[in-house]
Symmetry: C2
Subunit: 224 residues, 2 copies
């Protein structure tokens, strides 16, 4: 009885191995089918079940841009929506590592980020950018790159006193001491948006409140 069982089991294993071998010799790509033709933006949205957009945070240093941006990315990805933060961490050490902080370089910095955000948007990703981006003209250029209804300018409207008190990297202190030149809000201008899609009060709202308000904005505009 046991012998019969073992013989049978052996045959089953042998058969399964043969089938596995047969399967591994079958190129997986044979199972992938597609229709030739042009891939339209509509077809992309339909197949991937996701719309692209750009959420452009702007505000003073330490106003809360990166913190809300990262929390928003987390909330979106946890709910199956592809979102990606672009901020100093991944841009200034990579794509824009050959740029400084002169007015021309700041403008080129924002231009390149805008172009990358546009590529993300076209790729059905929600790009979440977190840069001071102090010049109105630079931000407006990015807005013009994108289709209507896909660019959301979000002002982190935190009083400079609050930002300066937070000062997580000690930059305000250095700027006040004259060790950093052209520091936004101290020795360089910040041009607040005239008609942002949303104004966050990151000095008084909780992080969760701010994040939910951006999610609500995206929901109202049919992005999520």
């Amino acid at each position: 009885m046991i012998k019969t069982f073992l013989a049978l089991a052996g045959k089953i294993v042998e058969k399964r191995d043969k089938e596995n071998l047969k399967m591994s010799q079958q190129p997986v790509s044979k199972n992938i089918h597609w229709h030739h033709g042009k891939l339209t933006a509509e077809a992309r949205e339909d197949k991937l079940k996701q719309k692209g957009a750009v959420i452009w945070f702007t505000g003073l240093s330490a106003s809360g841009k990166s913190t809300v941006a990262r929390e928003l990315e987390l909330a979106l990805v946890e709910n199956g929506k592809n979102a990606a933060v672009l901020d100093g961490d991944n841009i200034r050490h990579g794509l824009n590592k050959n740029l400084g902080f002169s007015p021309e370089d700041r403008t080129e910095n924002i231009r390149r980020i805008g172009e990358v955000a546009k590529l993300f948007c076209e790729t059905n990703v929600i790009a979440v950018t977190a840069f001071i981006s102090p010049y109105r003209a630079d931000r407006d250029l990015v807005r013009q790159l994108l289709p209507a209804g896909r660019f959301f300018e979000v002002l982190c409207d935190t009083p400079i006193e609050v930002c300066e008190q937070r000062d997580p990297k000690g930059l305000y202190k250095k700027a006040r001491a004259g060790e950093i030149k052209d520091f936004t809000g101290i020795s360089a201008p910040y041009e607040a948006p005239l008609n942002p899609e949303l104004v966050l009060k990151c000095g008084t709202e909780t992080l969760e409140e701010s994040t939910r308000r951006v999610l609500q904005l995206l929901s109202e505009h049919g992005i999520i």
Copy 2:
């Protein structure tokens, strides 16, 4: 009877309107929940059910890079995988519109594309790049930007005679006539990869064969 029906219908409409109003007052963002904390690369892959990668096509002008790249993008997106082509069309008119064709500008061109491809890869998108990228050192720099097993160099190995016969944009003709300087394969070098992940014979294989071979490569490496 009709009167009763109309009254009833009116009440139903009124009730529905009230419910709609109630619903529209309910912020959609209330339904979105997330866990605070850092979003790791593993969590992203898990939630989005997709791995990022870079498929780097290289080869002479008219060797078939863009054609296979677009077909690959189509096949991946139709099967629910987010993929995006980066090529001259969306890069030279956007991010890199301030670059020319000098050796330094060519190098900066590939460097920026590499950095963008890396951002795509980190965002769980399969970046499919289609640039001549004639210099081995430039391509190797991009390879070094990416984690092991996420960069796939694919050579479109089409004989120059075939490329020159195709000449869809009349560029070879102009290069032979001396109207275009530094034309890859005619008056500028093409350094073929020494160890590409895949060599496509785009001069003899069909488009579908080439595309399936790249899909098979991605499957074997666990990307799809």
